[in-house]
Amino acid sequence: MRWLNRVIGGAYALARKERAERELDEELRACLEAAIEEKMRSGMGREEATRAARLETGLVSTHSVKERVRDVGWEAWVDTVSRDLRFAGRRIVQRPGRSLIVVLTLALGIGATTAMFTLVDAMLLRPAPWNAHGRVVWIVGLWGRSPMPRNFSYPDYLTYRDRATTLSGVAAEGGTAMAIGGRQPQRVLGALVSGNYFDVLGLRAQIGRTFAKGEDTAPDANPVVVLSDALWTAHFGADAGVIGTPVAINGKPFTIIGVAPRGFTGAAFATDPFQLWIPMAMHDTAKQADGGLLTDANRVHVVGRLRDGVTTAEADAEARVIARQLNSSQTPVDQEKSARVLPIRGGLTPWEQESLAPMFGLVSIVPALVLLVACANAANVLIAYHTARRREFAMRRAIGASRGRLVSQLLAESLVLALLAGLAGFAASFALSTVIVHFGEVPPDFSALLVLDGRALIAATTVGVAAVVLFGLGPALTTTRLDVLPVLKDEGTTSTASRGSGRLRRIMVVAQVALSLTLLVATGLFFQSLSRALRVDPGFDPQGLATVSFDLNLQGYSPDRRAVFVERFVERASTSPGVTAVAAANILPLGGEMYSATLVSNNGASSSRASVAQVSPKYFETLGLAIVRGREFTAAEVAANAPVAIVNETVARRLWPGLDPLGQQVRADDSKEPWREVIGVARDAKYLFLTESPLGGYYLPLPTASGGTFVIRTSGTPRALLASLTDIARELDPDLPIATAQTMDERIHRTVNLRRAVVSLLGVLGTLTLLLASVGIYGVAAHSVSMRTREVGIRISLGARATDVLLMIVRQNLSLSLVGVAIGLGISAAGAAMLASYLFGVTAGDPATFAGGALVLCLVSLVASYLPARRAARIDPVVALRYE
């Protein structure tokens, strides 16, 4: 219990500090008095007795005795620290300019890292609110020897559900697109879930109820749906009255039974938030186009709740045993099933995390670089100011302060600055992510994840405190390492800068230049990739095109109804004002997906992968995609699904080199398709990405019962046309949700979104570091000029001209920057080689980019050192020689 006594005693002393001080004073005085009386009793005079008593008791200086008594308790440390902090606070206020520079500089670095942390946190780390205790876990499958976690098949899920003893419940969810009817029919991502789903996750409906026992057993017997909070708000105006009312899902009547808790969008929420949940048994009713979840296909996510007292490791061991029972002796090794139990962390599924983690690692380097540059810069500024205080430090050392005390005082100053910077950085991270989201056109559901919460604040402050060590310790140690006498005797301003801190400052500048050049080069390379990608000719004319698509399958359209819809839509759209051409297809280029096939010709040649599209008459005319030989499909050919085809130039070259492709026979490999006669050759186009290498293209007539995607050319603005197009669809079928409605330009820009996000991230951060580096160079130049005032004065008085002085200072700083540039070019070359696979249309060693970056930094450092140099050149030798 001794420590408790110590804690309490210390706290007590702290609380009654003045009283404790008074008592200690009195106690020591009493001791001295007693000793004096003792001496006087032996016959000494008062004065003599006092001197003798002081010597004998050691109470020569009551002050030092008191100090040592105080040091016994831990409260003395609190006292010292609080004194240091108060002193630091005063110094920070006394030098507002310096403090502002340091705080802002660090805030940028901290802000950048915090913004990145927030993103990584949301994706990979942050536990969902419903899983704060980590009792809900993923159960993922592994196949063969592959380490990549996978989904489960529904039958395998049932096996785990029935056999797992370490889990109190095992639930499954399978996501699929669904159409929800109502005033504004919508296409949403919904999930088919096991009946115990909400119970396993430990969630209750915020209004209404979740699924009851047995609601997921009888097929198609219980058409009930639980809405997400977001869908309930957006689609139903957050009206509590919707509970118990019917709603059409994929055109079938369902009853709304409840609304899930706010913020809950499925076990993994970062990429595909679910908007509604229906029981797995309603599978056939909510049939989707692409087959079933209940088959052997591995399409369901499986989650389980750990029984009390069971660890993840125990559940994991059991899952492996169950997995082994799923394999028979005939199972080939590469298809052997295994399973793992993993904690649910972040908003991504384990397989998404597995594939995205490397990218996050790569992108996280950038803010770390910014932070490093910021720390170097802050350190630079601090060194400059600490150096100017060397006489003060020497004086304090001379009167007894230990170096440790000086260092701890300087560190306290850095700590306060870092904490301020942490707060400012927290705010800056908000601004930074807004900027990046704005310029990067990051998808909105993605940017919604950038929530700055307590965790981000903690991260910001942690980074800030770590930064103290980075930027505070070095300066504190170098500037307090001093020989007291020379510094005190010195006139103050030495003719040459003090060696230790000068070297550190120069290293910092070199590092800053090198790092900002690296970022600049990376930005340059990515920017060029982006602009080259955007300048790529897609093969057709994207200007003046609008596109709309409808998911007719979801709505349960019969082939006839579908054909009617397509026909009517084309008809109505054609008569809209400004519209010059309309076409339908099953898919349009640059929409993020592509159907592909290998083609064979009747002469036995086969093409590499080719994009396949079914198109209506006037498709090529509408897109502005030139037919270089032959002609387009006629309306009659499309209506009859005639055995004709159009290929692109790549296919023609590949299958019939040197021959006339027209009249040749072609078909998709391995298909039951008939041979088709080539009636036209279209120009090559881009199908999936602007940056893809030329692909084959294969066009077939659009079957009447297919389609649902339209492309419309207008002489007006396509953006304005979109609204009237959706109106047409609504008139044709008020319950039909619109899958996409966008201009071709928007589609194209969307394909380069990730690139754009990277460029804007690098651009913003690269500019910041360049700014920081220039401030750093300026700081060093200005400092060296002020340290060398006397030297410059002597030079001038000995006849040096102003230009000589100017050149001397500039040359010195420029040579420093050149070293940084050289190192930076090396780092950039290595870094760019790593990024090569992400670049487009520009080589990783692009000389223009490297030279440009180097030039920019040289210019910046020239300007940054010119200003102080000009000041040096104007030094008045008389004033300079008296200067202290």
Partner: protein, 115 residues
């Protein structure tokens, strides 16, 4: 801060000696110093810079208790006395000390023949 050790006193021993002094009778700081010097016949001259921090430490640990009283010379002084746990500590320390000194004594007196 460098710790200044009392002359020739093994660190930690001072605590035991103070406890012993207070075991005889409650005493103020000056008195403890004088008593230690007296009993040790002037071998231990305890400096205020060691004595008062030691008293603070013992008081913090709950081994002794301080109390303001009036001295025989009609002055106010802080008298320290042993607490129960202080008494226990003294007993334990004394026993440990005896064991140690006997052992050390034996080692120092050891001759070749005993090995």
């Amino acid at each position: 801060m460098p710790e200044e050790k009392p002359s020739g006193l093994v660190q930690g021993t001072l605590y035991m000696l103070i406890l012993k002094t207070l075991d005889l009778e409650p005493m103020h700081g000056y008195g403890i110093g004088v008593r230690l010097a007296q009993i040790s016949k002037g071998v231990f001259q305890v400096n205020a810079g060691s004595l008062f921090p030691a008293l603070r430490r013992l008081e913090r640990d709950g081994l002794i208790r301080g109390e303001w009283r009036v001295t025989e010379n009609n002055r106010r002084a802080k008298y320290y006395s042993l607490t129960t746990s202080g008494r226990g500590m003294l007993k334990r320390e004394t026993r440990a000390w005896e064991v140690q000194t006997t052992a050390i004594g034996r080692i120092l007196k050891a001759s070749h023949g005993e090995l």
